[in-house]
Symmetry: C2
Subunit: 259 residues, 2 copies
């Protein structure tokens, strides 16, 4: 406890380390569901390196900008302000992952509802949809395909980032409320099951799925029903608002436990 000087005096004298620093970026895995498949929104690179390949939208982190704020800003800038559920995924820091310079990137998962997905496409026409194909077992890698079926090769280590995003989503889907980030405010149980099946890449047992979801206590029936169907309309549910959460912070926005 031999602190002769005050904290203020120390801070005034403190000389920021002047070693060379890596650049820090955030990259967004913009993910929605399109045609029953998980689908990314990618930017085609027209410059070196990896010109012609497709990349995750990203940007550098400002010196006075929190990581989460940088992710939100990149979402605004690159996806035309479409709303998305943002969640930090993992930080990639291999030395040669970008040949231009040392860039450490913090990958974020950005989940888009169908409406937000369409809005992003409309406001940011440069974004190219790429359907993600991943085996249901999902230990490993993924492939991405354009609308016409052509393979979309990803730039840098972005295929690895996307593979991790899918693994994480699958891992949290059943025990967390993250799946609701892909649905509108009102949804039917069938839509919820469709989301789970699309992410997992497998079919699910209908009665068991309904029982599980209803027993979780996450759902509030609205008493309203879908319209415009030519068959029996399904009841509309909404995600129950859990208390002890700020309006801007819902429970599926906390850092992963499982993972």
């Amino acid at each position: 406890m031999s602190q002769a000087e005050s904290e203020a005096a120390f801070l005034a004298r403190y000389d920021p380390a002047d070693y060379a620093r890596p650049a820090v970026a955030v990259d967004l895995v913009l993910l929605g569901l399109s045609g029953g498949r998980p689908t990314l929104l990618l930017l085609k690179r027209d410059r070196h390196p990896h010109a012609g390949r497709h990349a995750l939208p990203g940007g550098f982190v400002g010196i006075d900008e929190a990581l989460d704020d940088a992710a939100a800003r990149v979402l605004r800038e690159k996806a035309g302000g479409a709303r998305a559920h943002l969640e930090q995924l993992y930080t990639f820091g291999a030395v040669e992952r970008d040949p231009r310079m040392r860039i450490i990137t913090v990958a974020y998962l950005a989940l888009l509802t169908e409406a937000a997905f369409a809005e992003a496409r409309a406001r940011a026409p440069a974004l190219i949809p790429g359907a993600v194909a991943a085996s249901p077992a999902a230990e490993g890698s993924v492939t991405v395909h354009a609308a016409d079926g052509a393979a979309l090769p990803l730039a840098f280590d972005h295929a690895e980032i996307v593979a991790l995003a899918i693994r994480r989503l699958r891992g949290k889907l059943d025990y967390s409320e993250v799946g609701f980030a892909l649905l509108p405010e009102l949804f039917t149980l069938r839509q919820l099951q469709d989301v789970h099946e699309a992410i997992l890449g497998t079919g699910l047992n209908k009665p068991a799925f309904r029982r599980r979801m209803l027993d979780r206590g996450w759902l509030d029936p609205t008493g309203r029903f879908e319209t415009g169907t030519s068959y029996r309309p399904a009841e509309l549910y909404r995600l129950r608002q859990t208390s002890s959460q700020t309006p801007s912070q819902t429970s599926w926005q906390t850092p992963a436990q499982g993972d």
Copy 2:
């Protein structure tokens, strides 16, 4: 596809962005089990800021050093080379988390066997053990206590980092092989159950635990038995070596899925 110049020419001309960059560090949650409780190894800060508080060992990431390598180096430098299972946790990037300057820190979980824990304490006497108390429900925060029971306040946002480490460990414990990182090569089923109970903070049903672990197919019975007991000796097991893994990369060392 209008690329007149070669990639090499482009790279030679590339001017690294010269905006101010945050510093990037790694911090280690050095965690072992001591007296049946999860226990951290901490460094007492003798300088501003947060002088007198206890902090996670950490260090800056070198410009030519991968993140995982930086974590391994800090482990060597600060824990006297004790072996540990290293796994990236989360990246903390609030602007004011360090009053000296903007530091983004990538937190790593470093799990120590009992032997490695003792070795680290012997070779790095500055490391102070702090027992972690976390409610079994574990939504939230943790407290850390010295051997004499006094509370150890943590510096910076390190309490938040430790809380996340415990949540993640608890989340992965049952479905991953991460728990074995806290055990020696040969161990009894009771030791394995003790590890799970210490991490979860709850008691577990013995027959069900044995069934689950044996049904997982992770364990290889050795036919050998513990010695020196005054009661019936238990059989020793070892973690089954799964194929398709390099010797230095076992299955519980891959990025988290659950979380």
